[in-house]
């Protein structure tokens, strides 16, 4: 699908250090328009740090960012937004004291004269959330009173409002129910089809295999391999993530297989076993 195409977003040699922790070392990443790139890696591998580098929340110590062919400095979230980069953060970053509508439209409120157009914002919020199968009792509830999954849905909806060119999703489905996860995966596909570049961070190999075109692996803050979906097995990806073919995951699988003698418990339950 992609590969040969000109990348819309391209990182080269990104490094970032927090005190004694070298979070990123010379990381490269390319995303083309109409491509879903899965960014995977172990906990603390630097995925979220990389996302924050791209969206201006935590500028890198060194390295270059090229956006639509031009080298850019993304030194504030505002700058990233101007470029058309939208982000769903792992730690969500919602204002607990504001209600759902206000969180959705924060920073890009709709106006009606000098004042806010609350009616229109509320209407659109409802539609937007419905699209993601969100179960939210009222869009006028402060987000502090929402469940984990509801908050995550709000954060995802937020990122779609500004008509972005690149969307960064940092574990967007971690707290979502099965239906909502399916909707988000559908949504990612729609975004790809509309020609957006999508970076998806996920620990769920099933989801990655389902929607990604390419998988980029980070390990201890460095690039540790890049694969095209369809040419790689989960086992290979996990090996790249953990840095060893013999690891706790394969051990666990082997052990369980032994115990249950052939009836693989991980895929029990029919062909839908993979759906979470």
């Amino acid at each position: 699908m992609s590969g040969a195409r000109e990348p819309i977003l391209s990182l080269r040699g990104i490094s970032k250090r927090f005190g004694a922790v070298q979070a990123l070392t010379e990381v490269d990443l390319d995303v083309a328009a109409g491509e879903v790139v899965a960014l995977v890696g172990d906990n603390g591998a630097g995925k979220s740090t990389l996302v924050k580098v791209i969206c201006g929340v935590g500028p890198p110590d060194s390295g270059t960012i090229t956006f639509a062919g031009r080298e850019v400095r993304v030194d504030s979230p505002h700058a990233a937004q101007e470029l058309g980069i939208a982000t769903v953060f792992q730690d969500l970053a919602l204002c607990d004291n504001l209600d759902v509508v206000n969180n959705l439209f924060l920073g890009r409120e709709l106006k009606r004269g000098a004042a806010l157009d609350e009616v229109e914002m509320e209407r659109r919020s409802g539609n937007l959330l419905r699209e993601l199968a969100a179960r939210i009792p009222s869009v006028r509830l402060p987000v502090a009173s929402l469940s984990g999954g509801q908050r995550q849905t709000v954060a995802i909806s937020r990122s779609l409002l500004g008509d972005p060119k690149v969307v960064l999703l940092d574990e967007p489905t971690a707290a979502l129910g099965v239906a909502q996860t399916a909707q988000v995966l559908n949504l990612i596909e729609r975004l790809r089809d509309r020609g957006l570049g999508v970076v998806l961070i996920s620990h769920n190999m099933v989801d990655v295999q389902a929607v990604a075109d390419r998988v980029v692996v980070l390990r201890l803050g460095r690039n540790n391999g890049e694969f095209r979906i369809g040419e790689v097995s989960n086992e290979q990806i996990i090996a790249a993530i953990t840095g060893a073919t013999q690891n706790v995951v394969s051990e666990r699988v082997a052990r369980l297989r032994e115990q249950t003698s052939g009836d693989d418990p991980l895929t029990a339950g029919g062909p839908e076993g993979g759906a979470r």
């Binding site: 969206c55 990233a80 970053a93 204002c95 206000n102 806010l116 419905r130 009792p137």
Partner: protein
Amino acid sequence: MTDPVTDPAVPPPTPATELSTPKEAVGGWLQTLRTGDIGSLPIIIGLVLIVVVFQSLNPTFLNAFNLVNLCLQIAALGIMATGITLVLMLGEIDLSIGSVSGLAAAVLLVTHVNHASAPLLAVLIAVLVGTLIGALQGTIFARIGVPSFIVTLAGLLIWQGVQLRVLGEQGTINLPPAGTLVRWAQFSFVPRWLALLLATLVPVLYLVFNLMTRRRRSAAGLPVMPLWLPVAVAVALFVLLEVIVLKLYLDRGVPWTFVFMVLIVVFFDWLLRRTGYGRKIFAVGGNIEAARRAGINVDAIRISVFALCSTLAAVSGVVAAMRLGFANQQSGSGETLINAIAAAVIGGTSLFGGRTRRYAPLLGALVIGAIANGLELLSLSSDVRLIVTGTVLLAAVVIDALVQRSRTSHGR
């Protein structure tokens, strides 16, 4: 153990209905009333209790003359409380507002009296001084990162020093007793017909806007409040305003300074709740990192809020000076600062940022003003007065705290 049983009582999960069935909408509104926006009711109850107590202790408390005085007395306080409310909304503090108000008063007097500037020009200069100070302090806070407590504590000292300097040897400067400024602050009252008109217009406009919004909401398919609610509020407002106005016109009437203060409170309430700028203040106060990530220019918000706060402090100082008829070295010192913060907090502004109730500065100023005014009528010695003031203040807020508490134990 058993097969799944789909409960027939559970409504179908189409989100559309979950978001807008009229029944749930009303529920949602009642919910809002019970949780967030019941808001000012407890403190209004506290205020009513204060009034009842003082009136029973001294029947002159609800005299027209005394009520007019009360209006005059709280004008400056309400304006300053409005400013500090903005800063508190950010979760920050401005300790310099007292000094800034004193300096503004001094500047006003010196330009107007010593340098014979036109009244309006002098006022403008004085207020501008406030704005500049606020912008400076806000910049040091936002850009260099010195805690606002320290920046404004330095301001508290520095601007008081400058105030002494500006007043110079004279120490006290009187305004021309029959001049425009004194006349406006002490002897200007809204004509009776206009006051009655306003007291009618306000509820009517409230109703009209409410119905218009209602119409837009139903057109957009959004839940609406029951119709009786805005009507009831408008009627209650109408009765209240008429009674107050009629009462006040047994004496001099509604002072313009009071109207001016109320307009400021209402304007900034609107600014906070109905504009993008206000929404950004809420966001920065609620979760600064979320605000930053939403692309809000946090520094700009902070600087502008400190500038606004100092501006209002300067306006407050000007109003106070005009009402007193002079400015001296003590203008803006003493309890000015703490009263303003207390008014904001009593009105329902959180010191932790991101939360304030509607018209908090006005309600808080009324509580503080009523306590001070009521106690003056009782001829107490200083020690008793202090003890009573503290106790009444606490009592006025306890109701609020108890309501909040029972609410929290019900889940919020």
